[in-house]
């Protein structure tokens, strides 16, 4: 029998290879993100720069909605092609399927962000150079948090006949608390310290991620085996 973590890595690797061969999902995510950046920068730039607090929110709103393109089909394609039964009938713990999908969602969004974040920094005219380690940590934890929520939302909406409508109804309310923390941290990185120390907010974000991962992984077998 294989360990849960190596099964999760095998699932993530399989999804990444599949995605890189298909390309269109990652391309549509990037295209959406780029269009949103351009639209916001044309709409909001006055006197050369976007107000930094608005820009911080926009960064995460764009990542949040871009994630919808990547996270929604995470289980949909497995369910439609029947391969989900292959995963469900394999001798691996149910949580490893969930964790594998979270890793895949994280890598997918990470690839988009490598291109997106520098473009946003240039177009919105603000710099993350004030605190590079915290910027990287926030992007990593924030993307993992969105991937954790998005993967579970995708799994929960699998049995529904109107998945496209139901997915945002599950994804939005679950992800919004993490999103607010991410916006607050990014605002502090760009503008400077606020009323609450940044590390307190970052710890709250970590707690949110851990709560989402633990809760989702512990109930995932219900999504996999009806």
């Amino acid at each position: 029998m294989t360990s849960g973590l190596s099964a999760a890595l095998a699932i993530a690797k399989k999804d990444i290879v599949t995605q890189l061969r298909k390309k269109f999902e990652i391309f549509s995510m990037f295209l959406f993100a780029l269009s949103a950046v351009l639209a916001f920068s044309f709409a909001l730039v006055s006197q050369g720069t976007i107000p930094e607090d608005v820009g911080s929110a926009m960064l995460w709103v764009i990542i949040f909605f871009t994630g919808m393109f990547g996270f929604a089909p995470i289980f949909l394609s497995e369910s439609e092609t029947g391969t989900l039964r292959g995963l469900a009938s394999a001798p691996i713990p149910a949580w490893s399927v969930y964790v594998g999908k979270v890793i895949y969602g994280f890598v997918l969004m990470g690839i988009v962000q490598i291109f997106l974040v520098p473009i946003i920094a240039v177009m919105f005219g603000f710099s993350f150079l004030n605190d590079i380690p915290l910027t990287i940590a926030t992007l990593v934890v924030g993307t993992l948090d969105l991937a954790a929520v998005g993967s579970m939302a995708s799994a929960l909406t699998m049995p529904s006949e109107s998945k496209a409508t139901i997915f945002p109804l599950v994804y939005f309310p679950t992800a919004i608390s993490g999103l607010m923390l991410l916006i607050e941290i990014t605002k502090i990185i760009v503008i400077g310290p606020g009323l609450i120390p940044v590390m307190v907010i970052f710890q709250l974000l970590l707690a949110h991620l851990l709560a989402m991962l633990t809760l989702s992984a512990s109930i995932f077998h219900f999504a996999l085996t009806p």
Binding site: K14, R21, K22, T81, R85, S89, P226
Partner: protein
Amino acid sequence: MIKAIETKELTRRYGYRVALKKVSLEFTVGGIHGLFGANGAGKTTLMRIISTLLRPHGGFISVMGYDPQEEPEEVKQRIGLIGDKPLLYQELSGIENLQFYSKLYGLAEDHFKKQVNELAERFGFTTWLEEPVKNLSSGLRKRLDIVRSLIHDPMLLLLDEPFSGLDKDSSEVFRDYLEEKRQARTTILTTHNLAIGSELCDDYVTLRKGLVVGQGPIADFEQTL
């Protein structure tokens, strides 16, 4: 006698519709056992419960001595599943699909290579191993799916309409394989092709509207045809 599958008053509902109504049956270890019935009789539901893909709403089930609800991984390690749809990833090649499943089943690299060589040769798939699944015909996909289901050398093989989509030659190769492994492996076969079913199976259970309406040696079934 050791039982591969044992159910007592097994019940499963979909909403208000009862798919299995207090089904009690036994299949011994080894041999090929037929599970027959018309569409909607409950065959696929029973196969899914055996393979841990569905939870029953009542009754008892034991698969190779394990409870699928309490010890699902023990059951999953011992079963091979072939359904109506091949459980294959279109963008991956045949060998990549097999490598992926071998990792999920925790196969050692040398054992995996030995199994692939043997099974791909047997099912005439060796020349297609590097080809992406999306480029394969439905018959070749089915052959690859058979190789996938056997890669971990399962003790219990669950076959839901395994011959559909296979050409005559491939069908014969698979039947020969099942014959060869008749005693070494337990096989549960559902098929609408009663000629193949009665030829291959040692005994049978017939379901109708979720109820067991017949069971016994295959000779008894042949008399009802």
